[in-house]
Symmetry: C2
Subunit: 484 residues, 2 copies
């Protein structure tokens, strides 16, 4: 076969995998900071493939900058917050979360819930601003979008999907206690071998660790509420004019693109409408001139002449530099994935959110040393760095994770875009929707069926005993009569 023919065959084969059919119109409900950074990777790819991407942007938005030149469209709506208000809210959220007391489980999570509820209240304000803006909604309806794409923790997108009658695709790193994944995604997290997110446990648990994990499960299932659900339920019900629950509406998502993969996660059950796309934002490094350091404050007097300060550095290129030996990180999921991609061992100093868990995962997989920000000394830091640099097992394990990341049937970004395009092509992915979404919690856990079967057994046993007693009585009376 000539090269020309092979090329033609390859072209046909590829077109059968990637062809998006006709270009689609994607509406995006964005979330700020790192959530926006990694979502943008997917949006850029969608634009690259000829789709029209419109980001519904609040005038208060921080990182979503509609003034930066971009092929992405921005539909700006006036918000009841200013950009400054919004920045202050986020700064407070991060500052407070970072400083949460760690000695008391109860206080820790009660305060965490308070912080997230403040965030949730602000999200509700922005949702209110968008959804009650009749002119905006009419414009969006007339635009005839094919799909809405959003971060599942961003909230509001499920309501917009309902109002615009278009399918919804979520992206997600995690929700506290996996609440969203459980109650809206339909996933099960068996407490015996799936550590609850934020517990910092691994999948190889001792008995007491499994007890701890179970306590986390019970706590998150019965006490902790990720969002102030009542408020959302009420708002959604008002807007739609029918009793609506946030978590039930979120079940409408056709596809969940989870921003992790099995290099990072411990194997756990999932459903066919979940795709694990972790590492999709990573790419080969561009060359760097020398080793550099990012620092955004006053230059310390004690700084050696071999250390340079930069306000911003291309982290991915730095991690991909052949001379990079270790990655000192706060443990954000994006950074962790860049280290995995390039096979760099880590020293993790987690601050908040999923960061302690992310570092715990890397530690379990032998690719990181964890330090405690509140208690560590400079010699702890030095020793940790020496360990991951000099003990070859850390590099080996980081390279193992890197090989898992690179050796996938299809690149995670291509997979993410494939499923978004699939939902547009087929106007949904109903064939992947689990039937459990239509069950109540007691039906899902088969409590009604178990109760019924137990009642049947009890009745049968009761009837048999009654019959036996009757027979026995009858026999006794017979005997007595005979004797008499």
């Amino acid at each position: 076969m000539s090269l020309k023919w092979i090329s033609l065959l390859l072209l046909l084969q590829l077109s059968c995998y990637f062809s998006p059919g006709s270009a689609g119109k994607v509406l995006v409900w964005p979330t700020e900071y790192s959530h926006w950074i990694n979502m943008k990777t997917i949006l850029d790819e969608l634009v690259q493939r000829g789709h029209e991407v419109t980001v519904l942007t609040a005038s208060a938005s921080i990182l979503v900058d509609p003034n930066k030149p971009s092929a992405i469209k921005f539909e700006i709506y006036p918000a009841s917050l200013t950009k400054h208000d919004y920045e202050v809210i986020f700064k407070k959220l991060v500052d407070t979360w970072t400083r949460l007391p760690k000695d008391s489980f109860w206080t820790h999570f009660t305060l965490m819930q308070e912080i997230i509820w403040q965030f949730s209240d602000n999200a509700l304000k922005l949702c209110n601003d968008a959804v009650l803006n009749k002119k905006l909604i009419r414009k969006l309806q007339e635009s005839k979008f094919d799909l809405i794409f959003a971060d599942a923790v961003g909230l509001c997108s499920e309501l917009l999907a309902e109002l615009l009658k278009i399918p919804l695709v979520y992206s997600l790193r995690f929700s506290p206690g996996h609440t969203i994944e459980k109650y809206s995604g339909g996933l099960a997290f068996p407490p015996s071998y799936v550590p609850v997110v934020m517990s910092e446990l691994s999948d190889q648990m001792t008995f007491m660790e499994r007890v701890k994990n179970m306590i986390y499960v019970i706590y998150f299932d019965f006490w902790f509420q990720t969002f102030n659900e009542k408020k959302w339920d009420q708002f959604y019900s008002e807007v739609l004019g029918r009793a609506t629950k946030l978590y039930e509406l979120m079940r409408k998502a056709e596809m969940w693109l989870v921003r992790t993969y099995w290099d990072f996660e411990f194997p756990r059950p999932f459903l066919p409408h979940f795709q694990f796309i972790g590492g999709y934002h990573c790419k080969p490094a561009k060359s760097l001139p020398k080793v550099i350091w990012r620092y955004d404050g006053k230059k310390p007097d004690t700084l050696g002449p071999n250390t340079r300060l930069y306000k911003w550095i291309p982290q991915n290129d730095l991690l991909g530099h052949p001379k990079t030996k270790a990655f000192l990180t706060h443990g954000g999921a994006n950074g962790i994935y860049e280290a995995i991609y390039h096979g760099i061992p880590m020293v993790g100093i987690p601050l908040f959110a999923d960061q302690p868990d992310n570092v715990a995962h890397m530690k379990t997989k032998g690719a990181a040393v964890r330090l405690d920000f509140d208690t560590m000394t400079s010699s702890d830091l030095l020793n940790a760095l020496k360990t991951v640099i000099n003990d070859p097992s850390y590099k080996d394990n980081a390279m193992k994770l890197s090989r898992i990341q690179h050796d996938q049937p299809m690149k995670p970004l291509d997979r993410a875009v494939f499923w978004i395009e699939f939902v547009m092509r087929h106007k949904g992915a109903k064939h992947l929707r689990p039937a459990s979404h239509d069950l109540t919690w007691f039906q899902y856990h088969s409590l009604d069926v178990t109760g019924f079967l137990l009642a049947c057994v009890a009745t049968t046993v009761f009837v048999i005993i009654k019959c036996l007693l009757c027979c026995w009585k009858f026999a006794k009376t017979g005997k007595k009569e005979k004797r008499e």
Copy 2:
């Protein structure tokens, strides 16, 4: 960019997805009939990609014909059965299973277990013949295979994998009651929305259907044994010289390639070491001269002049013929998938094994009408055919399933081969192995943890009540003393 450059880029991209690294050596433990036919598709593809494939063949083997010209190697070992014995056993198995009484649940499954145990006993004989053949095992050990590939219901491959110290990949359609998938694969099948295989239920169950499903779950979990496990446990323990259980050894499988997909299955939970590759044996049809009929018996006198009889027909090409309107099938998984692939509505007359369930799936998805072989009349057959041909919903639904089958990120055969090659490249896929494999059944269900927590709660309540009682007594005595 010129076409040449595009081709080069495509070549690079493809090679990054499919490159098997260096060629590997695959040992195959085969299973007969349809199981062999669909396994061979994967073996041919492996050979095509430069791997060396050796099938360990019993001299009694039926369909695995080492004399047919093939690029696949056959390593034949003498069996304690003749080919004729083996054929008789299979014929009896199929004949008896087809005629199982359907009116009594208990009798039906007890007899089914008997039949499968006969099959299991014969499989044990062949396993014995292979494993105790020292010369053969030494030769296999010296051949340094990279992987063993087998049908999970074939048994023995897990023992060979252990003896040869090589990773194992399974292919599987189903096991009765999902026993193998549960106890060796680690999957959970929530009875509330996952119908048990062989129950002919769908995922949309009424209350009484959920009760029925639960009864099936209980029956298969506590009574039914797919294989005569005791015999296998004993044999495996003897050969390995340590206490070994069949189902535990089967957990060693690195990857499970399940021969269904979400066009056929109802969405249900699975684990990352499961891949659903249903439809991988299907391919575009080659042209046919006219519509034909396969029949392997005496030509009936009443046969019309427009019906032709053939001993064998190319079923896939026939189903892919543009004039094919309907598929009259016994409901075997291979045939069902060919109909899905080509979007042909079906009339199913199931006989045994997974066939009733396969047809039930297609019926639920609106692509088939089901007939009962024991009770159907010729007019039933005519009406069923008329229905699927004339009611456009059947064709529409069949086409919908076909679109789902065709619109995957990667073709199922490529995916199957990718994961086989992955296991060879990485000498396993340990990162996908669920930690539940190392737990006992009561740990897996968190019974120890729940018991411990309940004991803690009970102790606490007991101590509090004791203290309160003490205080009350003390207060009472104090009052009495005061009064005195």
